[in-house]
Every structure is written in structure tokens, then in C-alpha cells.
Symmetry: C2
Subunit: 663 residues, 2 copies
Amino acid sequence: MNQTEFLDIKDISINDSFWSPIMERVRTKVIPYQWEALNDRVSGAEPSYCMRNFKIAAQMTHPELDYGVDNSLGHGGHVFQDSDLAKWIEAAAHSLVWHPDPELEKNLDSAIEIICGAQQKDGYLNTYYIISGLEKRFTNLKDNHELYCFGHFTEAAIAYYRAAGKRRLLDAMIFYADCIDSLIGPQDNKIRGYPGHEIAEMALLKLFGITKNKKHLDLALYFINQRGQKPLYFEDEIKKHGGSFHWNDSYFQFQYYQAGIPVRDQHIAEGHSVRAVYLYSGMADAARITNDAGLLKACGDLFNNISKKQMYITGSIGQSAYGESFSFDYDLPNDTVYAETCAAIGLAFFAQRMAALQPKGEYGDVLERALYNGIISGMSLDGQSFFYVNPLEVLPEACLKDRRLKHVKTERQKWFGCACCPPNLARIIASLGNYIHSYNENAIYTHLFAGSSSQFLLNGKNLTVKLETQYPRSGMVAVTFAMEGTARFDYGFRVPSWCQKFSVLLNNAPVNYKLRDGFAVIAGEWKNNDLLEINFEMPVTLVEANPNVRQDAGKLALTMGPVVYCLEEADNGNELQKIRLGSAQPAEAKTEFKKDFLGGINVITIQGKKIKNWDTQDLYRPAGLQEKTGQENSGYEDKSLKFIPYYAWANRGPGEMTVWVNK
Amino acid sequence: MNQTEFLDIKDISINDSFWSPIMERVRTKVIPYQWEALNDRVSGAEPSYCMRNFKIAAQMTHPELDYGVDNSLGHGGHVFQDSDLAKWIEAAAHSLVWHPDPELEKNLDSAIEIICGAQQKDGYLNTYYIISGLEKRFTNLKDNHELYCFGHFTEAAIAYYRAAGKRRLLDAMIFYADCIDSLIGPQDNKIRGYPGHEIAEMALLKLFGITKNKKHLDLALYFINQRGQKPLYFEDEIKKHGGSFHWNDSYFQFQYYQAGIPVRDQHIAEGHSVRAVYLYSGMADAARITNDAGLLKACGDLFNNISKKQMYITGSIGQSAYGESFSFDYDLPNDTVYAETCAAIGLAFFAQRMAALQPKGEYGDVLERALYNGIISGMSLDGQSFFYVNPLEVLPEACLKDRRLKHVKTERQKWFGCACCPPNLARIIASLGNYIHSYNENAIYTHLFAGSSSQFLLNGKNLTVKLETQYPRSGMVAVTFAMEGTARFDYGFRVPSWCQKFSVLLNNAPVNYKLRDGFAVIAGEWKNNDLLEINFEMPVTLVEANPNVRQDAGKLALTMGPVVYCLEEADNGNELQKIRLGSAQPAEAKTEFKKDFLGGINVITIQGKKIKNWDTQDLYRPAGLQEKTGQENSGYEDKSLKFIPYYAWANRGPGEMTVWVNK
């Protein structure tokens, strides 16, 4: 294996025309807004109860504390409410790396004090059970998200430790990890359980990277390896502690939790999509750390299954609202889709980890697809409202009147009772620098193209790699290398799968490269100020889906580079189903960058058609009747079609939208 | 108005190559099978409890009776279980008219004895409340179907009275009607309610036709007129008697029951589709009897809304499984559809009543569409299994794995716990003779074309009208008139909306006719043995849906005459979504009648194409890539497409099926 690791965000500084404004939006709008939300100070939004829960838990644990909250209020929100705070801490911590902010750091420290105040004498730390009754802790791993909250807090603690060097929360989470390890595991006196909602696997492996404590590695591996082993723990848990099995009536049964069969036997992505990709991400981390070929094989199969059979063109996943789950191969409904923002984020986690394991372009292709489309579509352009569900086709009347679309909103919402997506978006955007380059001692691979300056240490040698680009407005990327003297290493850049043709010059002259697994790799000795000029041709393209996808039959989607475009009612009128691309030629499309429109986007105009209304009220008639009777020359009128990037939809009030357009 | 009434089934004898075998199937298979089912004697099927409930209720009412059933078993099945028996009695009674059967009549008489044994001293007759507690009767009109069961039993009583001349059940139902009238109505001391599930309106109006008792007319009109008046009775009922409002979260609210606004203000079909068309049928009857222009206007608007905006090409209605309801205009999903067999039957009731009110071809068009497609698709060719839900597109894997399709079965089932559809099918098929001709003193109108001999009395003159036809295999219909001497009247036959061209000869010579509202009407003096030869050209036709229907965009359906065809996996392999009609020419279709295949059907073969699989595993690629790279001459392979009538699908095990085929 040709393993690499991704650059830490401390070693990269992003200055990108596309991403910097989004990162700033997260920093200046989302993170402050979420802090207010976590403290129940956003009027008109559902209360989070998150900080309140921790204050109550801390007061109960330390009666000397007084946060001025009435303990009798009880726990508020979902059983997994703690995780919202963890995700916010993680996002805020990441932002401190690229934008120090003493005020924010003060808020973080004060929140962490409250959190740590709630920690029990044995390390346990979960407000739901602290407030509602500790005797029940670890009796419903299946549904009550204790280990999920633990995982998120561990990720948060690591992020803050890396950002600010402060160990307060990290130590608390190590203490909690040790508490869990003392109670859950393969040994006879322990609970043989594992997380109902995965993430602790990833988190413990990251923690192991810091602590080097094998206990943390082993606990993560135990969680992964025990999953789906017979007898099924979740079945035993129900028998022992009661409770119902919500998915009894579903075809996926315990695979809702990816816990029906051992993970190495899982080759098709099944069940709750966020849970799934979080597990697969942990499996990929474990495969990397332990060189486990069986796990790697399963990860490869699962990645393939998703990216080749169950992924929307937007990089979104999770076709079914029932169980927020995968459905089956090539089933990709555009209207009833779930496509949770968190699932696309989780897919990005998985893709990044696969890319670290093996520098293949296909991983970066998926990462890029998700980031430029199905992830950032989750956030409004003002950073104050959010989508859970990211449909590819919307008819507002249907969302109101068709119960199967109850989950599909036509406008982003402020803050959800279950607010998983907004802070998850914040943490991935705030740590974007962690997704651009990976490296090992011999090589640097560029997976994403964003204006940035990165510091590498290769074989003891310091290097700076600077990217300059207007991507995805244009496919030109300039890469400048800075170092003392020279250095020998491979530099590989991903050739995006959407790109049919590219050129590359080194210091204005042709350069040899090898195409390997979707990367163009240039081997040799590099010297200071070497300039690589890459030009990915980025024409407007009409894309078709594999004919196995019945929902996209007879339809095309318009893309330009990694960005998927859509038609919105605001630009094209209603009745989008009547629009036909006809003989539209992408080569004749007009692309105009509008700086002040929807945050600065390309608007692509292409000549299409629209079916005229029939001159009768009939529902059905013989095909081609109109032509035969000669009443009209054509059943179509010319129509100029105006496409905008999918991620920018739904920023102008409710209306129809479609990604896939009838041919 | 040019009102007519439909011929009573006693006055028509059907001998038709298409319908007679189906009627025989109902008589020899369905009716006997259902009698066994009602008596819980079908192994492997859910018990009905229906006869058992009546036996318990009769024993409780008359302690001297002993049917050998343990009273403590309680009421079994749904609150509306009684109606299954009523529908069976009605179907069996109809069948006696055209096939006397002393054994069946004996079973009917014995069942009726048991039913009447359960009637209370004040006339009340509903096993659910008799067994479970009479103090609660008429406290949940909204959901507990008392008046629905009353309506069905009244229809059954009338049918049996007409078939056998026996009044036992009729008198019982008149007694029950009087009981209801004494308790429910506009007067101050009465319950101001109306049926939660309509049908009593139709039934009472039919009863009025026999009793001429204005009380029965008035009660029906009260049910119709009070519906949806403020304050809403169902809201009051909840307040007074408790209980929840299941549809609180729906957009249709009390329109689920068509009870949110007064019926004259209803112009769009909404809510539970069976309830809706039963109400509209009652409204049409009331409009006819009372010459109520307001009601007629509402009926016309509702019929138009359904037939022009909410009806499948199969004549099925009810787009949404949620609430088994209408959804909204031009929303006609083919896979998630509900399209209950009972709803198509109810639409046939409504269409027939509209046709009686005004002899317009559009009503017979809908009646015919429903009968030849969405109604008889509900029954297997062996008459022993039934569909509730009649999808127009089926992918078995999706039915298993996509929760939104949970209601869609890939095979007909034996007998449902809620067995509304099978006996409803039986009663409409057994009374088919009631749907063919309507007449008044001046005219006869033929709405359906089925081999038959009918007796009319026009202005005191006896006439026989004989139809001979192979319809729908062919569009030739011979009409022979028999009488003493001559008679002057208008004879009109519907020119089906699918027919682009027809000819008609009288005694082998051209004849003048007027086209009026979808009928060809021949006026004049008729003499014995006059022979009218009609020839509707009936080519194979590819049909398109109105472009407002987004789900059918880019698709065509194949029809021949009134029959809608489909592709089944058994004939065409799987992956039907890859099939393209391309430049398929219906004129070149090969039509072959196969006598021994699927009960004797036309098989239509047409040359189409099938998309080849891509030579990559990609999910998405630039459109037209294959052509550009010249790897293959074409992405398609030729494929001979074999269509069978939609009603005959799913008689060869589970498999894919589609009515709408990609262009």
C-alpha cells in the first residue's frame, strides 16, 4: 500500500475565491449563530437545550456549582443533544486555527468548564443519563447515542487540543474513554456492545494518534470487529433491558445499524446512511493503522457500491426517508430522496480516508462532488438556515400534498430540534484544509484544488506548496513549490473524472507525467520556485446517468467542472417538467460569472424548448396527434434555459427546481 | 336535462366473448370462494369473522338462538366487517338474475335469517356495536362505518328483493333506515351527523325508488346537504365523545371525508378516493331525482376534475397511499400509486350516474376505461386472488426495499383482513348489465358494447335490442332491433374517445346520424329486424399524457381500443426502464389473439430498442460519449416488445411491469 496522510489544518492556509467566502460565512455567521442556538437565545427557533442540559448535569454533579438553571427542568431535546455542542466546539476549534479569536476561545473555555463539571467520578459524561438516571446508562446502546456523543466529544476535544493546545476537554474525554473501556469490551465481565450510531470508531482512532495508548486502538477495533457478530448484541440488549425493535418490519433489520452481519462481510451500503459512512470511515482508519487487508477490501467494496450504484450526481447519499437510509443499487429517486447533508459529509469523511489509504483519483472525485454540491447545498448563502434533506427535484405543491415528500422542505430552516446537519457542516467547512493534500515521505498528492499555501515536511525537508486558482470557475491551477535548494519527490495531482482533456507545463515547458489511478504524477527533483501550470478543460457538459438508473431515464444534467447545475423556477418559470433540452448544444452554452448574484456564481444559459399546452383539456391522446392534424407546426416553443449551481438553489423563496432535465 | 335511466339487469341478457367469461368467473369462483371466506373456511387466508359476528350478535339478541358460536369471542375483524357480507349478498343476488341457483339462494336465505336475527327491537343492526356495547352506537360516525354498513346492506337488500322478490332483508333495512332517521337528522333532538364513509346516500336514494317513502329521500338529501356545513359535525363529535383526529397533520384535514366544506362548494376531488366517488355518486343520484342544478354543477366539476386531471390511463384513481387519497391535479405517479380497485369501481358508479343524468360520451368513456382496465386488474384470471392496489409500474425489488411502496404488492392476494375490493368487484361484474344501455321514453343510448339482448319499454312499446360484437378484440358492433311493427325513437351509441374514425350502416346502407356530446344519434322510425352495423376503427395506438403530468414525460402507453396494454418481465425480460420505443410505428404492430394465453388475449408485438449496458461501471458520464468515442455504433440493441393487456398482468408470478414506456 502507498499510504499517505492528509495535511493537518495547522499546516495549510486557504485563500480561495470559492471556499474562503464559505469558510468566512461559517466563521462569522454559522458558528456565532449556533452558539446562540445552543444557549437557546435564537428567537423563533426551537430551543436546543444543549448548554442547559450540561449546566443542569454539572449542578447535579457538583452541588456547589450554580449556573442559575432549575435542575427540575430535566433533560431537554433528543437523547443525542450533547453531540450538537460537541460539533460546535469542533467547528469553532478548527476556525481558531485559521482565524484566532480570543472571544470565541473564551466561550469555548467556559463551555468546556461546564461540560467537565458534569463529568462523573468514574469519567462518565452524558447529560441524558446524568439527568434522567445513571442506573440506565449503557442499557440502550442501540438507540440512545451514548457512544455517539462520546465520539463527537472526543473529536471536539482533539480539535481544540490541536487548535489551542489546551488539554482540559481532551483529558476529560480520555478519562471517559477509559471509563467506557472498563465497562464495554470482549472480556467476560463487560458489556459486549458497540455503538448504535457509529463515530466512536473514528474518534478513538484519532485519539490513539495522540495518546498512542493501545487501549484506545483496541477499543476502536473491538467496536468494529464485534459489530454484527452472532449472537447480535442489539438482540441481546432488547432481551435483557426491554424496548422495542423499531426496524422489525423493515427489510434491512439490524443492518439499519450496519450490525446484522460482521463488517468484513458487508459489501453493499445498507441502512441509515450517516451511520453507515461513519462506520466505513472508522473501518478505513483502522485498515490504515493496522494494515488490515480484510477491512480494506470491505471498505473498497462499500466505497465502490456507493459511488458506482447509490450516489446522486450531487454526491448526496441516502435515497430513502424511511430510516434515512440507503435503498438499493441504481435506485436514485430525485424527489423523494433523503440525501441528508450529514450523509454527504460522512461520505466526504470516508472518501478522504480512502484517499489517504490509496491515492486514487476516484476518492477525490467523490470528495469533490460532495463538497461542491450536496454538502454546501445544506446551507443558505447567508449562513443562517439549513437543509437536512437535499432533493434534486422539487415541486412545492407536491411537498405540501404528497405525504411521501413530507421530509422535503422547499426552504432551508433555521435550527432543527435535531440539529445534526448545521454544526456538522460547520466542522467540515472549518477544517477544509484537511482535505486538500495528502503526503508521505516520498510524495505529495493534491486531491482538491483550492487557493492555498501548505507546509510539508518530507524526509526532513521543509517544502511549501502554493496553489493559485479560480477553480471551479476555471480549470487553471498554478502550483508553486518553495524550498531551500532542491528536493526529490513525486508530485501527483488528481485529474478529475469530469475532465476529458488537460495540459500541464513545468516552468512554461512540457513535463513528463504518468497517469496512475486517476492522478497525474510527476517524479523527479524539484527546486525552489518551480511552477506547474495545470489546465483542466472545463466545458459546460450535459451528463447522462447509467441506464440502470430508471429515475433518470430520458434526462440529462448540466455540469461544469465539479459543479452540478439546476433549473430554478425563479429563472425559468414553473412547470419545469415541460422543459426539453432537445438538441441543446453545450458547446453553445453561454457562461457568465455574476459576482453579485447568489454569492457570485456562473449562470449558464443554453437554448432549449418548452412543451406548449395542449389545445384540449384531455389527459391522454394519441401520440403525435398534433403533428398529424397539422394544427400547429410544433408542440414546442423555444426557451432560453438558465442554469445556476445546485448548491445555490432555494435562496430566493420556494419554487420548483430540478437537476435532471428532460431530453 | 335529457335524463335517462339505465336498464335493470333483469331486462338484459349478456352473452359476450369478453365479459361472459369474467361474469362466469365471478359466479363460479369468486362468489363461492367468498362465501367460504365469510364463514372462515378458507385455509391460509385471514379469517373474515363476518358470519361469526352476525351469529354472535343474533345469539345475544335472541338467547333462544344457537349457532354454536361462543359469544365471548367478541367481535372480529374491522368495525366495517359487516359490509363484506352485504357486498357478497348483493353480488350473489345479481348473479341469480342471470343464473338461477337454488343452492346459492338457500345460502342467501340462511345468511339473511342470521342477519335479521341480530336486528334490535328498534331496528338497529350493526354487529360491532351489538357485540361491543350498544351504548356507544352513533358516537363515532366519523370513523366507525355504521352508516357505511347500513348503506351496503340496503344495497344488498334491494338487489336480493329485485332478484328473488323476497322482502325479508329489505324490510329489515327499511326498519333500520327508520331507526336511523329517528335518531339522526336536522331536527333539534337528533344527532346532526352524516356518514364518515359515504354510500348510504346512494343506497337511500335507491331505497326511495322502491318505497317511494319521502323519509328515505329526505334522509339521503340531509346526509348530502349537511356534509361540510359549519360547525363541522365531526369536530363536534370529537369534542363530545372524545377520540382523535387522525388527519390533523394532513393538508386535506376534514376533506379526507369530503366533509370540510359543503358539497356544492366542492369542485376538486379530495381525500379518500373511495369515499369521494361514493359521495359524488349519491350527489348525482340526488341531482337526478330532485333536478338540483347546484348539485349537478358540483358533480360535473368533480367529474371533470377527476377525468381531466386526476385519473390514470387505466381509469384508476387515488394517487396517494397516504389516506388512500387523491393528491393534486396532474400528479399521477405510476409506482407509488394507490389506485384501489374499489376506487375505480366507485368511479364507474359515478360515471354511470352522470351518464344517466346526461347522455354524454365522456361518462361512458371513463366507465369503459375503468371497467376494461383498472377494475378487472383487481382480480386474478382464476378468480381467487385480488389486488387492492393497482400500480402502473412495478419493480419487485423496490416493493421490497422502498418503504413508500409498502402498499404495492407484486402478486394478488387471497383474502384481505380488510376485504373491501373482492366483493366489490363481484357486485359490479355481476351487475354489468346495468351499465350498458340507458333510455327514456324517446331514446335509447348504448354506453358500453357487449354482446347482449335487452328488453325496453318505450312509450308503452316493447323493443328488443341485440348487440353482437367481439369487442374489445374488434370494433365491429352489430345492433339488431326487434319489435312489433315500427317505433319512433332516437338511438344513440357512444363513439369512444379513443376512436378516430368509425362508420355505420343501417341495413347495409349509409345512415344519417348526428354527433352529439360524444354520441352518434340516429333519429327516426325503426322497424323490426333493423340492423345497424357500426365499425369503430381500432388500431394499435401509442398514447401520450398531457404534458402537465410530469411522471409521464417522455413516455408513451400502448392501447388498442379501450384496452391499455403493458410490458411484463415474463415477456420482455427485466430492466424494463432500459426499453425505448424509439421510432416504433404502431401501424406496424403485430396483433395476435391467443385464445389459450392469459384467458384469451391480444398479444401486440412492436419493434423497439433496449439500451445496452455501458462498458464502464460509472454512474454518470457526458451524454453522447459513446457516439463520440466511436466505441460502438449505437448504445441500443433492437428488441421486439411484447405487450399484453394491463388487466392480465401479474398472473405469472412476480416480475417487473410497466404501462408507460420510455420513448
